[in-house]
């Protein structure tokens, strides 16, 4: 029998959630430290999880820490930065096999939770700051990440479009920060960021797996009992819900295949889960599945793009259409993408398309429960939207969406920005 989502407060601004199911063979414990995005602190914050991942007082050295993980049957300790609307989340997670599958019957949940706690709360500081060598390296790593984002042209074009569209807003801030600020990271500035985060962040601890979450919970409860906390309350994301005029931007880079990205605003949804379900069906039918309008008409029937799809960010209410096109086909691709958008607004799609879209969305919702990472992501996103519903509940809401609601959703969407990334010389 699986145990559904359960969340409780351990202390001020620290919550522990769990979902368990005996079908798994692993446990995954994640600590998400959530702070508002700000241009001033984002880069110093971004380096913190990577510095923490280098060691803690009980394992003060990167190699020894990794050897400890090998002892724990190759448990993995991962860290990253995630963006939820106007918030930056610094994530540290440990993933390992459950006690039941060790060769010698060793405990796993306890040492894994303990190690994660040590990493989070007991860093290997030297004179009150992160070790200089670590900071030097991790500063360079952040710079590398920022520079290599240019490698992934599809990602790069998407990110540029969003930055142009939301200039000056929190949601335009890049989650890893900025190169010019990364150059200024020092052991002291990183340590200051760490202390500020630990004091002010909303902390979400999530346990997913087949083991006993109480073992982990008690370790966290005890560890946080002595932490000094002054958490900043969370507020909903603010961004315009309607575009005033269409902004067109073209940039050049050395690419063989051009990228066309279009940013839309999807109107007032707020925390209305019913409206959100209708918008999800609309976006999926328009460009979110292999049977969608964009895939079938723009990519397959007219061969205008190698890829062409639409995605909705449920936290910001922004929808992006992104495509890879030949330079010469840009206008044709643009026209057909907009043509299909108007098809959606006029409701000129079939009932079969609605059924197919709902089925695919429901399949992916039903599949969430089969993956520890997906369960973790799902509930973290739910917590960030402020209303927690299970994948099954959302599946039921998707089922109830009507044709009229899809058309209404399409008609509250407005095109804001058209971004075109193209080659330097003629192709």
């Amino acid at each position: 029998m699986s145990n559904s989502f359960h969340r409780e407060q351990l202390c001020d601004g620290v919550h522990f959630s769990s979902v368990t199911d005996p079908k798994f063979k692993h446990n995954r414990i994640t600590a998400n430290l959530v702070v508002p995005l700000s241009r001033e602190t984002v880069t110093d914050n971004a380096v913190v999880p990577f510095l923490l991942r280098k060691g803690c007082r009980s394992c003060p050295d990167f190699t020894r820490l990794n050897q400890k993980l090998y002892e724990l049957y190759g448990a993995s300790l991962a860290c990253d930065v995630t963006k939820y609307g106007g918030y930056q989340s610094l994530d540290l997670s440990i993933y390992g096999i459950d006690d039941r599958f060790t060769l010698g019957g060793e405990e796993m949940v306890r040492p894994c939770a303990q190690l994660l706690t040590d990493i989070l709360l007991d860093p290997a500081f030297v004179d009150g700051v992160f070790p200089e060598k670590d900071v030097e390296l991790e500063r360079q790593q952040i710079i590398d990440v920022l520079e290599s984002q240019i490698n992934d042209k599809r990602f790069y074009a998407m990110s540029r479009c969003q930055s142009i569209m939301c200039e000056g807003e929190k949601i335009a801030i890049e989650k890893y920060g900025y190169i010019e600020d990364a150059n200024k990271i020092t052991p002291a500035s990183a340590a200051e960021a760490y202390r500020r985060i630990l004091r002010s962040a909303q902390i979400e601890l999530i346990f997913v797996g087949c083991g006993n979450p109480d073992t982990a919970k008690e370790i966290f409860r005890q560890a946080f009992s002595s932490a000094e906390r002054a958490p900043v309350p969370m507020e909903p994301v603010q961004t315009r819900t309607k575009a005033e005029k269409v902004n067109e931007v073209t940039e050049q880079l050395d690419v063989a295949q051009s990228k066309l990205v279009m940013g839309f605003r999807t109107g007032e949804i707020g925390s209305d889960l019913k409206k959100l379900a209708a918008m999800r069906v609309m976006v999926a039918l328009y460009g979110g599945t292999p049977n969608s309008r964009l895939f079938v008409y723009v990519r397959e029937k007219q061969s205008l793009c190698y890829y062409c799809s639409a995605r909705l960010n449920r936290l910001t209410g922004l929808m992006f259409v992104d495509s890879g096109v030949e330079k010469a086909n840009k206008q044709k691709a643009y026209d057909e993408i907009m043509n299909q958008f108007r098809v959606m607004q006029r409701g000129e799609f079939t009932d079969d398309e609605i059924i197919a879209t709902k089925l695919l969305l429901q399949t992916s919702l039903n599949a969430v429960g089969d993956s520890l990472g997906a369960i973790d992501d799902w509930y973290m996103t739910q917590i960030m939207t402020g209303k927690v519903c299970s994948p099954e509940e959302e599946s039921a809401m998707i089922e109830a969406v009507t044709r009229e609601e899809i058309i209404a959703a399409a008609n509250q969407i407005t095109l804001d920005t058209v971004y075109f990334l193209t080659g330097k010389e003629a192709e």
Binding site: F101, Q140, I150
Partner: protein, 435 residues
Amino acid sequence: MEKTTIHSERLGIEVFRIKHDSGLTMLLCPMKGFSTAYAAFTTKLGSVDTRFKTQDDADFVDVPEGVAHFLEHKMFENEEGDAFARYAKTGASANAFTSFDRTSYLFACTDRFSESLEILLDFVRRPYFTKESVQKEQGIIGQEIRMYDDSGDWRVMFNLLGALYHNHPVRIDIAGTVESIAQIDHELLYRCHRTFYNLNNMVLCVAGNFTVEQVLEVAGRVLKPDAKPVEIERGKVSEPDSICQPLVEQKLSVATPLFHFGFKGVSTGEAGNLKNQILDEMLCDLIAGEASPLYRRLYDAGIINATFGTEVMTGRDYMCAIFSGESREPEKVAEQIKEEVAALKRDGIDRERFELIRRATYGRYIGLYSRTEPVAGLMCAAHFAGIDDIFSLLDVIANATLEQMEERLRIAFDPEKSALSIVRPQDGETGGTEG
């Protein structure tokens, strides 16, 4: 119909192996508690199959590079429309891929499993190609090839394979080239389909939320036995033991130089390669894994970053070990890996480190047996390699010895047979932090 059961006490899972009357082999692993079912219908036709003959052919036929991938794309379409449109009615999420040595059609679903399986077993068996549809696909795949030409990650790997292998088709892009796919026509596609998509040459692997009865019911209804088995003889490639060139470089739009450094191994047949792959993975981990002294030195010197990783690539008659990542000084990384290999050969492998790695590898493989997609993938890989018991791969880890590792180190990590591939930023595109 023959049915055998393979059981793992340790993992609490069972795999049923069925030789169906239609000629098709099925490997079925129902997994309790899961919502998803994952099914893959696979043939042993990949990009390396550029030369083959059947029992009825007098001579070998040479086919253009990229034909397996092209065929995969074309299978989704027939007189009645495309297969995605049919899956749309069941909610399954469907896809296909072509690798070096196989073509796989797959779907994942949470409901209406039987209906989706029926679509899968039907469309893959019903080719429909016309002159026009082949021409149109040449345009689509041409675009795909161009996209990969831009990708630093993709180029750096194929450049390495090109440096390690003189003649073996593993050195060629899976999708072929714009020129090679221009030579493909519908008759060739039919010929490849008749040969490789004969049920006796295919395998159906299913894992997750389904029952064996469901599969048998659908298979009994949909699969029409082929008139006779097609026996395939694959053209042998004469590939020297030596590498082709020790260094290959290309300039592309990347921020930091990318590198792939590889050792060309010795193939000992499919089953041997699959088992040796695990041992060689353990060796890669020993040489440069995150808990190794070398990793630490490279990381501290700032010449590798978190993108650094290792992999062992094996197939039916090739295998190589690859160390890859981003680096400002790739030559230095390659040099230090070679030095570490030499030191391990000279001083022997530390028993304690070996035990740690064995434990970590065991944990990692437990992970593969816990999710539907890797279970289906393992069943398919084991089947094509001629290994009946998929759980025996765990035994390879449990029974690995230090002596075995030292032997593999000598055979599979020969610095004379190593090559380095680098993709560098184009002039004027490097970041300001170079140095």
